[in-house]
């Protein structure tokens, strides 16, 4: 019953002419582009990323460190700070707020002011974040309770006491022992696993439609990782929550995700349902990533078959396909000259590779 409590809705301008977005799509990101313009050069951290998250679906984003996963989701949340800037693309989000729990209108988050009222009313309310560094994401001089209550009262018109009740309920729900007492504590008085639960509780406070988890399990030990993953899966099933789950661990993706988006140097290489991606990878990069997973059943204990070559520096991205310098099967004269675009290969998988189709960016 508790989940029925809806957060206060902001008045938002409607952009409903995007007929491409179907009823079941919650978030559609199209050609998102985010730059960091610095004296040393311009880093194209996100270079035309497109993907879709359906209602109640878990989408995993994978890729090596520095490929732009965090920048992508920070762009969606519109919390990119200078010298970064979202310079192009659309972030279509289907809001809550329709009558009788029906969906509200679709809004393009890319057109909003990142610091403005409308965006802030969505952020932390309908779209929430479990940050990459849960250890440092809480203020050390404010109590857990203080920070949870703040998060509730930003979006719900309730008293401090009511907000505290909501926070305690959520903490209990995410498996926090003695939540009342924990409200009085500071983050550094909790273990890593419990801190992570505080972050999850905080992300769920206002009953969001979309939860973004940025590598929520990398900073904690393996046992706690497993608990956090199963907790997220339960929450997702029980509350019909959509989750974007970021990781560079394909094993984790296999456990939690419905769909996978494979990123490399700020671009999407391949996307599709998790089974297809794992059993029928189309892009050489996806294949290389899969090959680098240590096999549990493997008899030899040799070194991991890491992908050959280093990730290029973001200031001097290769021309053509960003992966071609490391790609064993690249086509000379094509892959190093033209940039492939993401196109649907079949009704499930999309891929950005000249080995699969010939679609290229015009320039």
């Amino acid at each position: 019953m508790f989940w029925a409590t809806a957060c206060a809705m902001p008045p938002t301008p409607t952009i409903d002419r995007h007929t491409a977005m179907t009823e079941k799509n919650l978030l559609t990101v199209k050609n998102l582009k985010t730059l960091f313009v610095m004296d040393e050069g311009t880093s194209t951290a996100v270079d035309g990323v497109s993907f879709t998250v359906d209602q109640g679906q878990v989408v995993g984003i994978v890729g090596e460190s520095g490929c732009g996963k965090s920048v992508t989701i920070k762009s969606i949340l519109r919390i990119i700070q200078k010298p970064g800037q979202v310079v192009g693309g659309e972030i279509l989000f289907r809001q809550a707020g329709g009558k009788n729990g029906a969906d509200g209108e679709v809004i393009d988050l890319a057109k909003l002011d990142g610091r403005g009222k409308e965006m802030r009313a969505i952020r932390g309310n309908q779209i929430t974040l479990i940050p990459q560094e849960p250890m440092a994401a809480l203020s050390p001089v404010h109590t857990i309770g203080n920070q949870l209550i703040e998060a509730v009262r930003l979006h719900m018109d309730v008293s401090k006491v009511q907000a505290a009740e909501i926070a305690i309920k959520r903490m209990a729900e995410v498996g926090m022992p003695n939540p009342e007492e924990r409200m009085e504590l500071y983050s550094w008085e909790l273990s890593g696993g419990l801190r992570q639960r505080v972050m999850i509780a905080m992300a769920l406070l206002c009953n969001p439609r979309l939860l973004i988890a940025d590598e929520p399990t990398t900073a904690i030990d393996v046992t706690t990782q497993a608990q956090v993953l199963s907790l997220l899966r339960d929450l997702q099933e029980n509350h019909d929550l959509a989750i974007i789950f970021i990781t560079h661990d394909l094993g984790v993706i296999a456990q939690v995700a419905d769909d996978v988006v494979v990123m490399y140097l700020g671009r999407v290489m391949e996307s599709g349902p998790v089974d297809d991606i794992f059993h029928n990878p189309l892009h050489p990069y996806t294949k290389a990533l899969l090959a680098s997973i240590p096999s549990v059943h493997g008899t030899t204990r040799g070194p991991l078959p890491a992908i050959e070559g280093a990730i290029p520096h973001p200031f001097n991205r290769p021309t053509g396909c960003p992966f071609h310098p490391r790609c064993a099967s690249h086509i000379p004269g094509t892959c190093d000259r033209r940039t492939p675009v993401l196109v649907a290969k079949n009704d499930r998988q999309s891929v950005s590779c000249f080995l699969q189709n010939d679609a290229a960016e015009e320039d």
């Binding site: 952020r123 932390g124 940050p131 560094e133 703040e150 500071y186 008085e189």
Partner: protein
């Protein structure tokens, strides 16, 4: 928290003991004893003292006894509120410094609040608008503030006020209130005069604190909790004031430990230049005139103010930062 404060209070007597020894050694430093100097001073001014009175004084100060007995006699009288007699002024020291000590504390606190009131917004704006016009402007302002000796600022402002406005800005009171007992009119008069010494004394500290705050804040602004606070939907100003500023202020508060004593004692030259009725100019005069009991009493009151300043900063810090409270409690 209570435990923490009690612990701080318990070391106070020890600190004061150490400082009183230092002050006493200072009194003992010049050659010859106090009574001989006193008699010589009297002789120079034409009056004299008979042998019995001189003996009584020697007895009082224990001059024929070992140094530790002399210290003991001095500290006992001190604790009873008897600071001794000033050689130079021929007056009880307590009467001489009482009023001046009060004005020193008032001026010190006024300077302190002025400093923070100005340094906080400058530091916050410079950090949140890094490399903006404001930031560059205040950077230059801060360098000037730190680099110009305070007495120089005082001289320049005095000169400007005199040549441009035709007024002399010295002292803390108008002549008609200078030697009057406290009254409402005198407080108002103090308010009219205190701002200039306050600004002059505070400029240097303002520049320093603003720079420290800017640097601390720039560190804090990149911390992951900022991103989390933004992701909650908090507005930029509210989140800056609630989280990073709160954290960046802690090092400032711990700097109070040295800053407060510095305001109290650092005013010596400025107070002399501006002819302020604080204890600074009196210390200078007593040292020049080898009026050692007066000098000792003033140095001891500086120590006292320093100890109180540190105590206030410690308590404030523990109140602001739960990590410090916890650390102390776990010891």
């Amino acid at each position: 928290m209570l435990y923490y404060i009690v612990k701080r209070l318990l070391i106070l007597p020890f600190l004061l003991f150490v400082f009183s020894v230092i002050a006493f050694l200072l009194i003992q430093a010049p050659p010859g004893d106090f009574v001989t100097s006193y008699v010589a001073e009297l002789a120079a001014s034409g009056s004299s003292m008979d042998q019995i009175q001189i003996e009584a004084l020697r007895q009082l100060y224990g001059l024929d006894q070992p140094v530790y007995v002399q210290y003991f006699k001095w500290i006992t009288r001190l604790l009873q509120g008897d600071l001794g007699i000033s050689l130079d002024f021929q007056k009880p020291i307590a009467d001489l410094i009482g009023q001046r000590l009060l004005l020193t504390v008032i001026l010190g606190l006024a300077t302190f609040f002025f400093t923070f009131a100005i340094a906080l917004p400058i530091g916050i704006i410079s950090a949140t608008r890094q490399y903006s016009f404001f930031d560059y402007f205040f950077t230059v302002f801060n360098y000037i503030g730190v680099a110009t000796p305070t007495f120089m600022t005082a001289l320049i402002l005095m000169w400007l006020a005199f040549t441009e406005l035709g007024i002399t800005i010295t002292g803390l009171f108008s002549p008609e209130y200078a030697d009057q007992p406290w009254s409402f009119g005198r407080v108002v008069d103090l308010g009219k005069h205190i701002w200039l010494p306050m600004v002059i004394l505070g400029l240097d500290g303002t520049a320093r604190l603003a720079r420290i705050l800017r640097a601390n804040l720039l560190d804090e602004l990149n911390k992951p909790y900022m991103e989390m606070a933004r992701a909650k939907g908090l507005s930029e100003w509210r989140l800056v004031l609630k989280y990073p500023v709160r954290l960046a202020i802690n090092p400032l508060v711990s700097s109070l430990g040295w800053y407060l004593p510095l305001i109290f004692s650092g005013s010596l030259i400025v107070a002399t230049v501006l002819n302020l009725p604080t204890i600074g100019p009196l210390l200078l005069r007593s040292l020049i005139g080898q009026d050692m009991f007066l000098a000792g009493a003033i140095v001891l009151s500086y120590f006292g103010l320093a100890v109180i300043g540190t105590l206030i900063s410690d308590i404030l810090l523990a109140w602001l930062d739960p990590r410090i409270r916890m650390e102390e409690a776990s010891k």
